[in-house]
Amino acid sequence: MSRSYTDIILGSIADGVFTVDREWNILSFNRAAEKITGVPKSLAIGQKCFEVFRADICQNACALKRTIESGKELIDLRINILNSKGYSVPVSISTAVLRDEHGLMVGGVETFRDLSMMERLRKEIHHQYTFADIISKNHEIQKILDILPDIAMSDSTVLIVGPSGSGKELVAKAIHHLSRRKRKRYVAVNCGALPDTLLESELFGYVRGAFTDARKDKPGRFALAEGGTLFLDEIGDLSVALQVKLLRVLQEKEYEPLGATAPVKADVRIIAATNKSLPDLLSGGVFREDLYYRLNVVKISLPPLSSRREDIPLLIDHFIQRFNASKGKDIQGVSELALALLMRYDYPGNVRELENIVEHCFVLCRGGEIQADHLPREVVSTRSREVSEPMANPLRQAEAATIINTLQKYHGNRRKTASDLGLHKTTLWRKMKKYGITSFES
């Protein structure tokens, strides 16, 4: 078969294919390999395969090396690679020896298949989100991420507060998957979704005969989460009666299923969340003080999206990558005008609302970039935020956000801020004046 037929065939398949010589230099790189790695063929050819492919096994357990040394093929090995955008891409690889017309080994060939969609579905089904799924460069969020492993390993009860859609459950899942309990279940309950009577049986379960229609024992969420983590969302909506029962679990590490005659031991880590102000509920007599202090051992406060606008472009990029994988589209990004409108919007629904907006755009956008026409009406027509002329440009907005973030990091110290940003201090002063960043806490 001629070389041009081979090129046509390799160019038409969905799997990435590349070949290397015995010095690991890339000899060929097909179109799918370009797409999955994000590296153009023109850059890849002649480079070391490990500097293009960037697999997690390259340094310690290279599959091609094993194949070349042993002469044996490897089929369907699951690994992850780092693409040119810095995203980890799960792939399945197969390797074989490359021989010339005389049967002499001249190198190796590797094929790989993108498993992103499968991995994403598996993650959603099994709630296996990690800290890496918390997308933010905001200083406050980075501070939380920095201490997350310590919080996770401590096994202490955690209270996460933040507005609706700010990522409370994502943080809870990340804590579970960083903890010693990660091999056990993560179970979530929305305390505001069910009436009290149902919620009690849902949480603690019931025994046969506890009430009419209780024909057999039913384990509650505490039993299902045994050894693992129980996430109690909307904890502020819990009735006083149930608060007492929850307090008992936290204090005595035991509970009673409905109709049971003896308590059951509980080995469950509690992570609670609320978008309400629990101190306000305390003073209103709606929330028990003793329960509040039991829950408030470690408190994580998540800011609203409107307080971390520098994350909006990152989140948009993240959601575009996710929806491209799940919906089989190839949306490239957002236009400058669409981004300016998205940066201006206030997001009362926070990150969840932004995700919905991007998904809305995916329905309307057939390819290329998301345009302003694809945005929901409330984003386009909002007048809720005054945007000064210098801030209207998205690049300027990002620059202002970076300056503010860095000033926060150095507690208002302009000399250190200027040094970090690679600016002369007078340049920094000029930019601060331009964006109206005048007063800052030292």
Binding site: G86, P149, D420
Partner: protein
């Protein structure tokens, strides 16, 4: 100034999160005053970066790096030159001459022979 370079043999490691061996160089007035090899065995990126911060590294020169790690490094005040490929010593010389930029591909002769996709001011920062 203290510089950290994750290694793969004598080359810059292709992935920051997969290298256990770091070349740590202490530089004063543009001159190497101390070099050491440090082993960082943490698999968790947060702990790995904390270990680097504990070594008082203020500049990291690395190959491929995920966005999460790059943001965490920035949070710890560590300046990052990323997506660099080539021999570690040649890259270090280029950095000390003030010529290093993110995304540079260093050839065998120690000169820049191309650029990867990322430059300084990567959108992940």
């Amino acid at each position: 100034m203290k510089i950290g370079i994750p290694l793969f043999g004598t080359r810059i490691s292709p992935r920051f999160d997969c290298s256990q061996t770091f070349l740590v160089i202490e530089v004063e007035d543009g001159q190497n005053i101390q070099k050491q090899i440090v082993f960082v065995c943490e698999s968790s990126p947060i702990k790995r970066i904390r270990n680097l911060a504990a070594l008082h590294i203020d500049t990291l020169i690395c190959g491929g790096i995920d966005a999460f790690s790059e943001r965490q490094l920035y949070f710890h005040g560590i300046r990052v030159f990323s997506w660099i490929t080539g021999e570690a010593e040649a890259v270090l010389c280029c950095f000390l001459e003030g010529k290093l930029e993110s995304g540079m591909m260093m050839g065998a002769d120690g000169r820049c022979c191309g650029r990867w996709r990322f430059r300084r001011g990567s959108r992940h920062l």
